[in-house]
């Protein structure tokens, strides 16, 4: 889920993947795809469709007309049915495409502003009545993968139809879409890694980051974004911070791209506030000594938190680029420490 283009991002995706090793837990990967797929459908795409319909901007009838121009997405290229790992990887790639596509469909033209709060009611954040039902993803692993392959095709088709209708009705222009595509490609977890690396080497930058948040990142040529305030929680020898948003999944998306998939998972949210230390130890294999206080930051949408992990020992004299490769997406929310120099060396051998 990290690849958003650009050599730097690829480097980071590589090191993160290597740190997590070969795909061992098929069930876990499938569960992650199921959770992400349904989150983006029920929290982002369909509430937006309903909102546009209610306002008469793009009605369901417009979608029907647009659908006539869209053929069903092709079935994925030849992956043998028994190649479970190959099929899961293909699902993950297509899920990334789907999520990027929803980002493009969420363009904010001035005449039809898309304010997140407007769809919160629509998507049932406050009232179960409006909650969009999710299908049960049960059955054998094989059945679940087959169902995801089918659903992802269907969901992608709706997205394509919506994009077609948005263009047909002149709600957005092709040029706006291209600009949005470039904007989305330029952000990501690599931004977070660069911010952390600079804070490790430059005390003045760190101070500015902790006190002024977003404003500070401009000096890294990173667009600061404007989705609320950026809160930065610094880990120390006696304090370990971890970020959650129990009410929804607030995160500095506009600055750091997507959070880890489990960040939106209800079981993570429930367990991390009740038992932060146990959750880190058992779920993330990050046991912390009793001398370290674990502090959970539960965000609202107005302050979006990231964690500033501790600089690993043995990295004296490293360049910022090298240091940034130690910072994983999990470390940015406090579910992991920064990687050790030894773990990077291992993956490159």
């Amino acid at each position: 889920m990290l690849g958003t283009g650009g050599a730097s991002t690829d480097t980071m995706a590589h090191s993160t993947q290597a740190a997590h090793g070969h795909m061992q837990d098929h069930e876990g990967h499938v569960l992650a795809v199921e959770a992400d797929l349904e989150y983006w459908r029920t929290k982002r795409l369909e509430p937006r469709v309903l909102q546009l319909h209610r306002r008469g901007v793009v009605t369901l009838y417009d979608l029907l007309r647009a659908a006539a121009h869209i053929s069903a997405p092709p079935i994925a290229a030849s992956i043998a049915e028994h190649d479970i790992e190959g099929r899961i990887r293909a699902l993950e790639d297509r899920l990334d495409d789907y999520i990027r596509g929803i980002g493009l469909a969420s363009i904010d033209p001035p005449e039809h502003p898309s304010v997140i709060e407007d769809t919160r009611k629509e998507r049932g954040d406050y009232d179960d009545f409006f909650r969009i039902a999710k299908p049960h993803h049960d059955g054998t692993l094989d059945e679940r993968i087959a169902r995801l392959e089918h659903e992802l095709r269907e969901y992608q088709r709706l997205l394509q139809v919506l994009m077609h209708a948005l263009l047909e009705k002149g709600v957005v222009t092709a040029e706006q879409i291209e600009r949005q595509r470039a904007f989305l490609a330029g952000r990501g977890a690599w931004n977070g890694a660069l911010i952390v690396a600079r804070a490790w080497v430059d005390p003045a930058f760190k101070q500015a980051l902790l006190t002024r948040g977003r404003d500070a990142v401009r000096e890294l040529n990173i667009p600061p974004g404007r989705l609320g305030k950026l809160g930065v929680a610094e880990n120390t020898a006696t304090l370990h911070n971890v970020v959650v948003c129990t009410l929804c999944s607030c995160y500095p998306h506009d600055l750091l791209g997507d959070p880890p998939w489990w960040y939106r998972d209800d079981s993570f949210k429930e367990s991390v506030v009740r038992d932060p230390r146990g959750t880190l130890a058992h779920r993330f294999d990050l046991p912390l000594p009793e001398s370290v206080e674990v502090r959970v930051h539960d965000s609202t949408s107005d302050v979006r938190w990231m964690v500033l992990p501790r600089r690993p020992a043995g990295t004296e004299g490293w360049s910022e680029e090298e240091l940034a490769r130690l910072v994983t997406i999990d470390a940015l929310v406090g579910a992991a420490e920064a990687l050790s120099p030894a773990s990077i060396a291992r993956t490159e051998r």
Binding site: V273, R277, R295
Partner: protein, 93 residues
């Protein structure tokens, strides 16, 4: 982007209690801290966040709660929850 801190009713170090009932307007406070008391640790001011919601919400505080006060047990770990001031009242000592 941030309104003057002077608009805050509370100060860092104040002991506050989260209201149980939902004040009119902003429903976004986690249920598990309702009725619980904590210490104000950060004043964020009123945050202009037009991409996320219309209008300006009341000033926002980070409030620190011991996990054991909220969920029981003996943990020394803490929960820092961002709460708008209309949800907060002064707590007894």
């Amino acid at each position: 982007m941030t309104a003057p801190v002077a608009t805050h009713r509370f100060q860092v170090g104040d002991r506050v209690q989260v209201k149980r009932a939902n004040p009119a307007g902003n429903p976004r406070t986690p249920a598990y801290v309702r009725g619980k008391s904590g210490i104000v640790t950060v004043l964020h001011g009123s945050i202009d966040n037009p991409l996320d919601h219309r209008g300006i919400y009341p000033p926002l505080c980070s409030v620190l709660f011991p996990v054991r006060d909220v969920f029981g047990g003996a943990s020394r770990d803490t929960l820092s929850v961002d709460v708008h001031e209309d949800w907060l009242a002064p707590a007894g000592a």
